[in-house]
Symmetry: C2
């Protein structure tokens, strides 16, 4: 079952037809209302054949994930190439994600529950999501390392993952955000970034530094 590997020419063609059919139907009618039979029909393959390429309906959503991640990465590169200060770099990353994801907001809410299940491959914490997760964390590492931000070395190494967690929080907020064009999410981003910026710069102050060190130790301890 070649789920993400083994790209022989013939199969790849069918695979992409299924992905195209699925994304089209998802976007048109939502996740739940789109049946695997409809996807197979639309792609011109049999039901069983769709399962040969994607071992579940959820696995089809991984294609959507990859697409958003890829688009975000390229949009992020444009921002990171021009900005040098920490705050605009971070803000740029957040805003770029919202821009990329906005067209899918309605559809995202419907299958978000599947991503929230700990055992689901769609969970951002799952092993299957590790590549996308790591790629995302790399973006935040670039935000930190390419900027003028001065923090302690220990925090500097943990900051990318912390920022990714904040990003997950923004995503959670976005999914629940029913305001037009997700304006509340945009407002959250534009106002939380300066806070993070100030907070990060504050971590070198003697009074704050101790607590940050403890936090870093806790993070490292929980990770193993």
């Amino acid at each position: 079952m070649p789920d993400t590997a083994s790209r022989s020419p013939k199969g790849e063609q069918t695979r992409q037809a299924i992905v195209a059919a699925a994304l089209g139907l998802f976007r048109a009618g939502g996740y739940d209302a789109t049946t695997m039979r409809a996807i197979a029909d639309e792609a011109g393959v049999s039901l069983g054949n769709a399962y040969y390429y994607f071992s579940s309906k959820e696995h089809l959503v991984q294609a959507f994930y990859d697409q958003v991640q890829t688009e975000h990465a390229s949009a992020a590169r444009r921002v990171l190439a021009t900005e040098t200060a920490f705050a605009p770099r971070l803000s740029g990353l957040f805003v770029a994600w919202v821009d990329v994801a906005t067209p899918y907001h309605a559809f995202a809410g419907q299958f978000f529950k599947n991503a929230a299940e700990p055992t689901s491959p769609l969970s951002p914490f799952s092993p299957e999501s590790a590549p996308a997760r790591d790629a995302s964390i790399v973006l935040f590492r670039t935000v930190v390392e390419g900027s003028d931000l001065k923090v302690t070395p220990e925090l500097r190494s943990e900051l990318p993952e912390l920022l990714w967690m904040l990003h997950m929080g923004v995503v959670l907020f976005w999914v629940h955000d029913a305001s037009p064009d997700q304006r509340r999410t945009r407002r959250l981003v534009e106002r939380i970034v300066p806070l993070v910026d100030r907070l990060a710069r504050m971590t070198r102050l003697p009074v704050v530094r101790g607590i940050v060190e403890d936090l870093v130790v806790l993070l490292r301890d929980l990770r193993r």
Copy 2:
């Protein structure tokens, strides 16, 4: 269809039999593996009858919610009656929740997705959950107000909701925690509470105070 209302004697008896059967089977075999047919059999009613009382399998989960919340509230009252310092009060609340929820960990993750869906009434952010949410926030308010903690007035009024959000974070961690007896969650709690304690007391320092005020303003702005 008397889902949560209309408690005439006859129906209530059947209703409780179904809840008891469901919780027992959920706990024994997990959420997904427990079929509605098995629940109906165990309760001694027909399949259709189970649906007369609970319009979906998800709605049966509300019974679990109510039970955990009730148990947590009473366990919390015991802790809050004996402790006066902020840190042990907060820690007590967190630990009490983990204690209450631990027996259900295996299958809690399986239906956690229901709570994560933005449109679901089971979401902790939904209007339907407002009573349970408010009841929980009240517990955290009691933690703050019954303690020796000194913070600025603005933060003091927002702190209960902030602590509730932290609690949601702990719950999220717990759901994803596969370690035996959820030891990692317990370690997280026991080590993050002192950090929160120090952080809260630090908010009166001039350098930190400004950022806290901005955070409070942001919270209030996003809420409306």
